[in-house]
Every structure is written in C-alpha cells, then in structure tokens.
C-alpha cells in the first residue's frame, strides 16, 4: 500500500476513536467520565483483536478485546447489524463489574468487518456499597449485576426488558441509564465513521491498511525490544488491606525481541475485593507498556504479540471465581501496573539509547473514596473524590517527576475544582495543596502528591458518608529507580474534632490549615464505610512519584529550592539528601553539606562503625 493512503487511513482511525470519546463524554456528562476520564473507546478487528486503542484508561484495551472475543464465542452465527452487546463479568473479560463494556459489531454490506468497544465506570452497579467499589464484598455475588454477555440492542432497537432489568438492580437508575445511553451513542458514532471510512477507500484498502498497521506495530516493537539489552528484572509490590499484606511479585524477562511477564511467587488470592482476574492483570501490565515502550507506535494487536504473561491460577493476579474483585482497578491492577512500570523502567534505564525513556513509578496508589448522601440542595449525591486522578509523576533520568502530574495508565485525567465539589456536596475544603516530602527522594525527585481535608458544610443531615477502599498507607507503592526512593505512602485520617475537648481547641478546627492544626484525635481509616459528621474532618494525602538515582547526588541548590517551596522539609533535606541549610534556611551550607554527605556514604559502607 502506498504510504500516503496508509498514513491517511491511520490518522482517520485515530480520529474515529477520538470522536467516539467526545460523544461518550458529551452524553454521559458525569464527573468521573468528564473529569477523571475514567473511560475507554477502541476499535477491534472482526476477530476481536485490537485495531486502534484510544487514549483512556489503558487497562481496558486488552480486556475489551477479550470482551469482543467472548461475545463472538457466545453469539457466533447470531451477531447482526445494529446489535450492541453488554459484558461486565470479570471472570469472562471485564476488570470489575462497574466498568461495563458495550461492544458493537460493525457490518459492511452484510459482512462483519470490525468491532467498537467502550466502557465507563457506571454511576452504580448494585453492589453492596454504593459507587461500584465494594470493600465489604465477600465474593463476586455481592458485587452487583454481572453479565458474561447479553444483547442490549437488537438490530438497532434497544431491548427495554434487558435495560430495565439492569436499571432495576442499581442505585440512581436514571444516572446509570444516562451512562448506558452515552455508550450506545459512542458505539453508534464509531460504527458510522468506520463505515464512511470504508465507503471512501473501499473495504479491501481499509482492511489491508489495518493489517499493515498491526504488522507495522509488531515490527516496530520487536525492533525496539531487540535494541534493548537482554536480561531479567524483578519488582515486588506490597498492598495491605486491614491486617493482611499481599504481594505481587513480577519477574520480567527480555530475550531478543520478546518480553515475558511472570507473576509466579505472588500471594494467593485475597479474601478482600482487591483481587485481579487474569484479564485484569493482562490489562494492568499493558497499561504502562503502551506509553512507556510504544509512545511512537500505534497501539494495537501488533504490540500485544511479542508479549507473554504468566499468572498462576488462584493468586491475587489470577483469582478464581467467586473471589471478590470490585476494588481490582484500584487494588491489585495497580500493583501490576507499578510492577510492570518498575521492571520496564529498569530495562530502559540499562540501555544507552533508551535511558531517557525510563521512569520511576508514577502515582502508584489510587484512593477510591466515594462520598454519598443528601446534599445542601436536598438531592442525593454520589461521587468519587476526583483528586485521585490528579496523580504525581515519577522521576526521570534527566528531570524530576512532575508534581501532581497525572499517571501513566490514564494519560489525560484531571481533578475537579474545589468550587465544583463544594457546589454539589455538603462539604467544605480546609486546604488542598502539595504534600511535603511526598515525592520520592533521588538525584531527580519524584513529583509531589497532594493533601486535602474536608469537613461537612450546610448538610441537611449533619454530614455525609463515604466508602473507602484505601491501601498503601503502610507501604509505599511508587517505587524509585536506580537508587531513588519511593514516594511517600498515602494517608487517610478521620479527625474526631467533635469529641475534642474544649481546652485542646487552640485552633478553630473549621479553619485549620494542616492536619497538625486540628484538635481532634486522629484515626487512620482505610477500608469500609464511614460517616463524616459535625466538625469531624477527613484528611487524605496521596503518594508522590518514585525518585531516580541516589538522593545524595541531588544538586543541593535543587534541594534548597524544594525546601523554599515546601515540597521537601528541612529535616528530609538533612536526613535524606544530606543537605545542610545555612541559618535561616536561605542558602546551602556547602561545607557542612559535603561533610554530611561524606559521613552518610560512610555509614552505608560501614554500618557497624556508625552504631
């Protein structure tokens, strides 16, 4: 095929996905879809293999391919023009029940030529806790509606019986109905545009361009892998739920032009809903792989071919039915993301040519906190704290990570304004700012995360409730690279100002400027449903990105600048970076810094002598 037609068709395929994403956001109108960009739209070939991955939550590109394949298996011979199928069973293909896939066959002149698939995190799925993440779930049966494949639209006509059955099982059915409508509209747009592309260039030309596109991606990734050194890299990720600690253990082996991700050695499946099914793990390892290794390669089936995953059954990365999985996307999937990011980073870092592409782990730890209750206007409100989408960048081999810079698996997320949240929920922010010492120390520092605190405000019920499925409060998760330290762990604190004794109230908790300012007792909360009432506050701090290289090699002037802006404390400057500031903190004491660093090197070499 001539490179020009090929280039035009490739570009058009990307535009199709982009336009479908816009349709999805327009129709949905919800905050998690519009601010968090917690969505995905992609095109698949007739056999369900990935043709054009869109920029959304990248965990889903491969599992939606599996969803297409599962529909093909189940409905073979009965897949008609204008049909749309729903699938959200994690043991068939999905990540968790609340991320519903709608997949539509695209027919041209009666022949099935492609699929489009999309998902949004629906407003509710009828799990035991509102909002989709169900920390209290014991098994998949308590995680809401789940289908291994059902026809929602038949030859262009909505099956009201199916839709009404679904809506009958969820909270806020009108909002879920809107989510469903947005996905239907999105698939319709993708189908129409795909057909007009075929109409313009002809089926054969488009088909061979698609084939060539996939072959080209495979060839480019194989070339890239061949240029990288052979070797084996490992990563361990720990996640805790209540008193249990689970481990995701990854060994990545690169040989010639292939990569094998082996999770042998990971923990047995958990009693809690942080588990991954194998589709979730596969998605979890591809999410960082696309942007880290294929930033200039089209994301499609060709990229998947050189990659193999080994995930032993019965483990936290390949659980067996009926283990609960509703928290997977912010649970073990993230551990898989992090481990893959970490091993890929180590591989890139050991290459001369690709060193600049290496990165420490970014925002490794989502905090899914859904607030719900009656708001100041008398309406029911459910919504995630979109701050979790604000993220933080991992340090790079040539620069610091980006403060509050997002995350790798979801490249175009953002958080809502404080004013937007306060307008719709009966809460008020006390502060929202970068968290001191959150970015992983290193020669290049990990990007900072943030901290915020909220308090009830004008609530008709005296406050609201929230569902939290937090983790990473005990163990840092955003690993550093090449001697860099990890980012700080997350913190979730319930401050009991209501019970604080009047004498201890040297500061009015309503205008507290920091966690330390607040008079109430502090209780760490991570898992379950909790109230937020009266003058109590909820404090959340999230991890920064991992650092790169030895913090003792960081330019002291950069450490001074970090102290000046509050991103690093004077204590960390001294104890972690070995940088001593002159009296008043306005300058680096060069001699004292050199001495401090020398003695810290010595302690590392001769730890016994230091004791």
């Amino acid at each position: 095929m001539d490179p020009i037609t090929f280039s035009i068709i490739r570009h058009r395929l990307f535009r199709i996905v982009d336009e479908a994403v816009i349709t999805l956001k327009h129709v949905s109108g919800s905050a998690i879809t519009n601010e968090g960009h917690d969505l995905m739209v992609s095109l698949y070939r007739a056999d369900g293999s990935l043709l054009m991955g869109g920029v959304g939550f990248l965990h889903h590109l491969t599992s939606a391919a599996e969803a297409c394949k599962a529909i093909i298996r189940r409905f073979e011979g009965d897949i008609n023009e204008g049909d749309i199928f729903l699938l959200n069973d994690p043991y068939t293909a999905a990540l968790h029940t609340s991320d519903i896939y709608l997949v539509s066959p695209i027919h041209h002149e009666g022949r099935l030529v492609a699929w489009s698939a999309c998902f949004v995190h629906v407003y509710d799925i009828g799990a035991m806790n509102p909002g989709g993440f169900a920390p209290d779930a014991q098994d998949i049966y308590t995680e809401g509606f789940s289908s291994p494949g059902i026809r929602l639209v038949e030859k262009g006509a909505l099956r009201h019986d199916v839709m009404d059955t679904l809506l009958n099982m969820v909270r806020s059915p009108e909002m879920v109905s809107l989510d469903m409508r947005s996905m239907i509209a999105c698939n319709n747009v993708a189908r129409d545009r795909m057909l007009s592309l075929i109409g313009k260039y002809g089926y054969d030309t488009v088909d061979s361009a698609c084939q060539e596109l996939i072959d080209q991606s495979e060839e480019l990734l194989r070339q890239r892998l061949a240029e990288l050194p052979d070797g084996q890299w490992q990563s361990r990720q720990y996640l805790e739920v209540k008193d249990e600690v689970y481990e995701v253990f990854l060994t990545m082996t690169k040989k010639a032009d292939e990569l094998v991700f082996d999770f042998t050695g990971s923990s047995p499946q958990a009693a809690y809903s942080v588990n991954c099914t194998k589709w979730a793990s596969l998605g979890g390892l591809f999410a960082p792989l696309f942007p880290l290794l294929c930033y200039d390669i089209t994301w499609n089936e060709g990229v998947i071919r050189p990659i193999t995953m080994i995930a032993p059954e019965g483990t936290i990365v390949n659980c067996t039915r009926p283990a609960p999985v509703s928290v997977a996307t912010v649970g073990a999937i993230q551990s898989v993301n992090n481990a893959a990011c970490s091993t890929i980073g180590k591989m890139l870092e050991s290459s001369g040519k690709y060193r600049e592409e290496a990165t420490a782990v970014w925002h490794a730890n989502h905090f899914a906190i859904f607030k719900f209750g009656r708001n100041q206007h008398g309406g029911e409100a459910i919504g995630i704290f979109t701050e979790t989408f604000a993220g933080s960048g991992g340090a790079r081999t040539f620069a610091d990570g980006i403060d509050v810079g997002g995350e790798i698996p979801n490249p175009i997320s953002r958080m809502a304004n404080v004013e937007t949240v306060e307008a719709g929920f009966p809460i008020r922010y006390l502060f929202r700012r970068r968290m001191t010492d959150s970015g992983g120390p290193g020669r290049y520092r990990g990007g900072a995360g943030m901290e915020f605190a909220v308090m009830p405000h004008d609530s008709p019920d005296g406050g609201i409730n929230y569902v939290i499925s937090g983790k990473g409060a005990d163990f840092p998760m955003s690993d550093g690279l090449a001697g860099g330290y990890p980012g700080a762990p997350n913190r979730y604190v319930w401050v009991h100002n209501n019970e604080a004794d009047a004498d201890s109230r040297n500061v009015d908790p309503r205008f507290a400027r920091s966690l330390d300012d607040m008079p109430g007792e502090q209780e760490t909360v991570t898992w379950g449903v909790f109230p937020l009432m009266g003058e109590d506050a909820l404090y959340v701090g999230w991890n920064g990105g991992g650092g790169y290289g030895d913090p003792l090699e960081r330019d002291p002037e950069a450490v001074l600048e970090d102290c000046r802006t509050g991103v690093v404390s004077a204590r960390s400057a001294r104890d972690v970076y070995g940088v001593v500031l002159a009296e008043g903190g306005g300058a680096v004491d060069a001699a004292a810094t050199e001495a401090a660093r020398r003695s810290m090197y010595n302690e590392r070499l001769y730890p016994e002598a230091a004791e």
Binding site: D2, P3, I4, F6, S7, I8, H11, R12, R15, D18, E19, I22, T23, H26, V27, G29, S30, N34, E35, E174, S182, A185, L220, Q223, F290, P291, D296, W299, E357, A358, T359, G379, F389, A390, G391, I402, V404, G405, G406, I408, P411, I412, S413, R414, M415, N417, V418, E419, E422, A423, R428, Y429, F431, R432, R433, R434, M450, H457, D458, F511
Partner: protein, 707 residues
C-alpha cells in the same frame, strides 16, 4: 460617536498579526484600500504606522492627511499573545486563600500538561512537562479568608496578614503586578476588594488584577490562572495602548481608538487596557467576524472560515449567523477564562516542513515551519528543508515568474532537487507522484481539523460555505472543500487582510455576567432582578461613549445545564426582556434543542431538571460604517484575463493536466472561469479544480461552485 462622521469620512482599521500588520481603509462610495507591512515586535506601534502609511500611499495621501479625515480607528494586536510567548511580562505575585496556594501550579493535575496537545504528546507522558509557570513558586502568598458556595463570608480577610503578604511580594520578590484570587470570589468579591485596597495603600504603583473582576465565574483554577495572566501582561498592554494612542495623536489622529477583543467586539482603548486577557487571539477572532460580515452581505448564515498562512491553519465556524465560543481556552498552554471566539488551529501552512518518519517513511506536513526566513527552498533564500510551498510549486500551482505580483521569482529546480532527495527517493516514487501524495496528506490534515469542529460537534459541512483566507488557503481549498462537500467556496476580495476587515465590521461590545444557580422553573422576576444592575451599568457605559439609545442593543443569554450534568450551553434569550413566562419557556425550549444539537440526540437528561448557572448581558453600540457598494456585473467571458496555459495537478484525475492561467487583477465582476484553472492574485493563487466553476461576484469575491 457619530457626530464627526459627516466631516471626516474614513475608518482606518489595523490588525497586528504574528508576521504582518494589515490595514484597511473604508470610506463611503470608495473601494477598500489595503496596506500591508511587516510586524515589528516588540515595538508593534512602528509596524502599525508603516502599514497605515502603505495604505495612505495608495490613496496618494500622507498619514497626516489620511488621519485628518479619519473619524474612527480600530485596532487588533497580538501584543498580549507575544508577551506570553516571549515571557516578557512583569514580575508577578499572587495572593490567594490560605491552604490553596498551589492551585495555579498543579493545574488540576495533568490537565495543564496535556491540554491542547496532539496525540503523539499525550501518548508520551515521560517526555511531556507543563509549561514553566508565569510566576515563581515563592511569589504566592496564602492569606486567611473564606467564602462558601453561597457567597457567605465564613472568615473575613485577615488584613494584617494581607499587608505582610503585599510587603513581602513587593519588597522581597520585587513584583510589579499582583493578582488576587480567592475561593468563591465570583459570588462575593468583598474579600478580594479589601485585598486590593490594601495593595493600593501599601504598594500604589503595583498593577492589580482581581479574579472576581477579570473572570467572575466558578472554577478557582481557571479563574486564578486568568488573573495571573492578566496581571502578568496587563502593564505591557496598558503601556502599549497608551503609547499607540499618543503616536497616532502625534500624526494628527484625534478620534477614539477601539480595541478588538477575543469575543469579537471592540472596546474603547482605556477600557481594553485593563483587560489584557481580552486581547488574546483577537486577530483570529476578527477574522471570524470578517467572515460573518461577508456571509451576512452574501446571504450565507452558515460559514466555515479557514485561514492558512505560512505556519498555521486556523478555522472558525459561524452557524446560523451565530458565532461559536471556546469552552476551555488556552493561551500558550495556559488556561484562562474569557469569552473568546472558538478558533482551532494546526501547524500546517505554506512554510510547513514536509518530513518522513525515519522508521516507517510515513509522510507528515508540519508542525515545524521554515517560516518566512529562510522560507521554502524555492524562495532561494537559503532554505533547505522541503515545505508545502515547494510542493505547490512542483505541481504547477505557483507561477515561478510572477510570485507576489512579480516581486519575487521562484527557483523550481532547487525545489525539485530537494524534494527528490528528501522525499520522493525515500518513498521510492517519481517526484510528481510523491508531490501529489504530499498535497493530499496536507489536504487530509486540514480536512480532519475542519471535521473536528463541525462533524464532531454535530454540524454538517454540507450546509456550509467555506471562506478561504490567507496566502495558502485558496491553493488548497478547492481540494479539501470538495472532500468536505461544502456548498461552495468563497475567496474574499479582502482575503489578504481579512482580520482588518473583521475590525471594520465589529461593534462596541461590553460583556457583563452574574453567576448563581437557579432552577429552570424560577420566577422570571428573580431573573430580571439579576439583570437590573447589569443593565444600569451597561446603559451608563454606552451613554458615556456617546451612543444614542437607538444605536445600542442589550442581548441577554443564559448558561443552562441539566442538573447532575457537567455540560453548560449558553442560550440566547430571544423572547422579551425583561423576561416574562413565555420568554422563559422559549429559553428552556431553545436550550433543549441546542443541547441535543451540540451533544447529540438522546444526550438530554430531562428527568433531573434544568438549572441556570450564568446570566450574561452583552451590550453593544452600533458603529456607523459605510455600506459596501456592489459593482455592476459584466458578461461571463474571462478571456481578457487569460494569460496562458500550464500543467497543474488535478485532484480528480490524480495527475497533471493542462489548465488555464488567469490574472486576478484583470478579471471583472460577472466573469466566469471553468476548472481546471489557476488564478494568480498579487498575494496568492486560487486553484480551481476539475468540475468546478469560479466566478467573480459584484463585490469582487471569487466564488467557486461545484458542478
């Protein structure tokens, strides 16, 4: 405002663009006079006077003579864009609500990192940073104060702390400008105003911007960012306009100076001077206003306005006579909120460099540009990288001998050699065939952009007329317009100075707004009460500017949304104002229709109810301007303008074919030309493809119809 008109007959309008400064002079019963000069950053006023001198020259007048007979000067300038682009603003500080000092730096997470960036950037997070902030991180001071979501002051401003903050910013940080941005200040500006009083007292020389005045809308990140940008560039914009007015005065101009705003209206210079953000991208906005004016004149309510110069392709849409406004505007990657006409762009112009992906050989045009200097290879000024203009030359679209009206000749052989080595040989294709391909890639890139702002927003290009402006657009338009299937193409007579034409077509427009949330079934009296103070202010303002009430218009529009949805739609009030029940019902119906048109069928969510969130008043004063007089139409024969015949690339035939070559300056209204043909004008070439027919209308526009 209109009293001088009988004695003084001219309106002079000058638009300062990135490369050129264009002037247009309008007088009753006279053809437009146009002048073009190079822009002269950072002393843009020099270029303004050069450009006016060129126009005056053509009239046989001196600048002083022209000014003596001029009653109105209209102006658009890139000065603010340039200040941001070159980081040439004042050292600026920010005073904000304590606890929220980082708002402008963290840009709502990755939003400030990816907003407005192309696919290849978004797919490559490791290589993508935010732009460096306009203010140093330690020039932000949080002060205790708090207002809540309903505008109640929970905590009054800590004045002592604010005074300390001002002293620190001015004393230690040496700032010359201060932005003040507090939470919820758009509902209750009391604390921001108190802070300004303190700045005025402690540091009277500092330039101050309040977020509640420059951007009185919800969303603290965007509002704070706007205040920072305005403070940063405000001093320069202010000095520029003052200085320009003085220089114009020295050359004898004593009338008002009207300054173009990004929303397509003009403001008197003294008012514009305090709203630097209003001037951002006012040139492209004027371009859309110019297209609208021409569309109105020609009876076309639906217009796609496309402008392609040396480095960028810009496009805006006029739908049913209404202009589309940008929702999340960016300037040089910084977010701001100000009413602004939506104009989207890509880095594709005549100077865009043609490159091949080193690994896959996939061709691409832009976004890198050879600019005007050294420019394309064929200019023979030392440019070595192949550009789109070189490709145009190879496929017969440029006349090597009379480029720019004969001011320059083109080196076609140099272009061919460079293209062969850099592109054709690497593609393994003959030069001509490769050049056709590159032309089609450029055409596809432009088509995709137009698709993005039409089809992807529910608009069908088949209902639209395409206006092609700028030096390169009329070359490409006949190809991409055919693919988009637009109704017809218009290459305006004023294509070369379209933005200046837009200035002449604009009116004085003041924008006011109040933010508050009301349900859709609110009593109209409540809404009218919100408007009363705005109307009073607007009337006083227009009266002070000398407008008789008959020459003014007050247009109401309201932002509505479905409850629990995030998308708001600005909906004009077409019923009576102050509103009655019928007007409100009409507004709600219009909103629902607009919403579905914008976001697609089935997107409306009526069950949750409708809310009104922003109440806007647009107060305009109509400026007196001469009507454009049509010329008499002559017969269709254009033989007198035919200068020869030459092979050009004909899209539908996918090859070179003989075409007639015409001299624009000899074509007369009513003449018709059948494609394939090329028409050389003093500044550009108009390509007429096979199966298309061009004619000159009574306003000297070239109209291309598809047969």
């Amino acid at each position: 405002m209109t009293t001088d008109a009988p004695q003084k007959r001219y309106i002079v309008a000058t638009d300062v663009g990135g490369t050129c400064t264009d002037t247009i002079v309008v007088a009753p019963g006279e053809a437009f006079i146009m002048g073009k000069a190079l822009s002269t950053p950072p002393n843009f006023a020099d270029g303004v006077l050069d450009s006016i001198a060129r126009a005056a020259d053509q009239m046989g007048l001196s600048v002083e003579d022209l000014f003596a007979q001029t009653y109105l000067f209209m102006h658009g300038s890139t000065v603010v864009d340039n200040t941001l682009l070159t980081r040439g603003g004042a050292p600026t500080g920010l005073i904000t609500t304590a606890g929220f000092e980082d708002t402008v730096f963290v840009t709502r997470g990755a939003y400030g990192r990816w907003a407005g960036q192309p696919e290849d950037w978004i797919k490559h997070p490791v290589a993508s940073d935010r732009p460096a902030p306009l203010i140093p991180e330690d020039a932000v001071c949080g002060v205790p104060e708090r207002v809540d979501y309903k505008g109640a002051v929970l905590q009054p401003l800590d004045e002592a702390e604010t005074e300390r903050a001002v002293r620190r910013l001015v004393g230690e940080k040496k700032v010359e400008a201060i932005a003040v941005a507090f939470l919820w200040s758009f509902y209750n500006a009391e604390n921001e105003q108190k802070a300004r009083d303190i700045v005025k007292r402690v540091a009277p020389e500092a330039y101050v911007t309040l977020s509640s005045e420059i951007a009185p809308v919800p969303g603290e990140y965007e509002r704070s960012s706007t205040a920072v940008i305005n403070a940063y560039a405000g001093g320069i914009a202010n000095r520029y306009l003052t200085d320009l007015k003085t220089q114009l005065g020295e050359r004898g101009y004593s009338g008002p100076v009207m300054v173009m705003q990004g929303y397509g209206g003009l403001l008197p210079s003294q008012e514009a001077a305090d709203r630097a953000v209003g001037m951002i991208e006012c040139g492209p906005a004027a371009g859309v206003i110019g297209a609208k004016a021409l569309g109105d004149l020609m009876g076309d309510a639906d217009v796609i306005a496309a402008d392609m110069g040396g480095t960028t392709f810009k496009v805006g849409v006029i739908q049913n006579g209404e202009i589309e406004y940008a929702r999340e505007p960016l300037v040089d990657r910084y977010h701001y909120v100000a009413p602004k006409i939506e104009v989207v762009s890509i880095g594709a112009g005549g100077g865009s460099i043609v490159s091949l992906d080193p690994r896959t050989n996939v061709p691409r045009v832009g976004p890198q540009s050879a600019g005007a200097d050294p420019g394309p290879v064929c200019y023979g000024r030392g440019g070595t990288a192949v550009t789109l203009t070189d490709v145009f030359t190879l496929i017969g679209y440029m006349d090597p001998d009379i480029f720019l009206g004969g001011a320059m000749t083109l080196d076609i052989e140099a272009a061919r050699a460079a293209f062969k080595a850099q592109v054709a040989d690497r593609l393994g294709m003959p030069v001509e065939e490769a050049a056709f391909g590159i032309f089609r890639v450029a055409s596809a890139q432009v088509t995709d952009l137009i698709h993005e702002i039409t089809v992807e927003r529910g608009l069908d290009p088949r209902d639209y007329v395409l206006h092609a402006f700028g030096g390169s657009c009329p070359i490409l338009a006949s190809s991409f317009a055919a693919e988009l299937n637009v109704k017809r193409i218009v290459v305006p007579y004023t294509a070369a100075v379209n933005c200046a034409l837009g200035l002449v077509s604009a009116d004085i427009v003041h924008e006011y707004s109040v933010t508050t949330t009301l349900p859709g079934d609110t009593d109209p009296a409540t809404i009218n009460a919100l408007y009363a103070p705005m109307i009073e202010k607007a009337r006083a303002q227009l009266a002070a500017e000398g407008f008789a009430e008959a020459d003014t218009a007050l247009d109401w529009s309201i932002d509505l949304r479905y409850a629990r949805q995030v998308h708001e739609v600005t909906t004009p009030v077409y019923g009576v104002t102050p509103m009655d029940g019928a007007a409100l019902k009409g507004l709600i119906d219009d909103f629902e229709a607009l919403y579905e048109r914008k976001y697609g069928k089935g997107s409306a969510y009526r069950e949750a109810g409708i809310e009104m969130t922003l109440f806007r008043l647009s107060a305009s004063g109509k400026l007196q301007r001469p009507d454009i007089e049509p010329l008499p139409l002559e017969g269709p024969d254009a033989g007198h303008a035919l200068t020869g015949r030459r092979e050009i690339f004909v899209d539908a035939r996918n090859g070179m074919a003989p075409a007639d070559v015409y001299d624009f300056t000899r074509i007369r209204p009513g003449n018709e030309i059948a494609g394939p043909a090329v028409i050389h004008t003093p500044i550009t070439t108009i390509v007429v493809q096979d199966a298309q027919r061009a004619r000159m209308d009574e306003l000297r526009n070239i109209v291309i119809d598809f047969r």
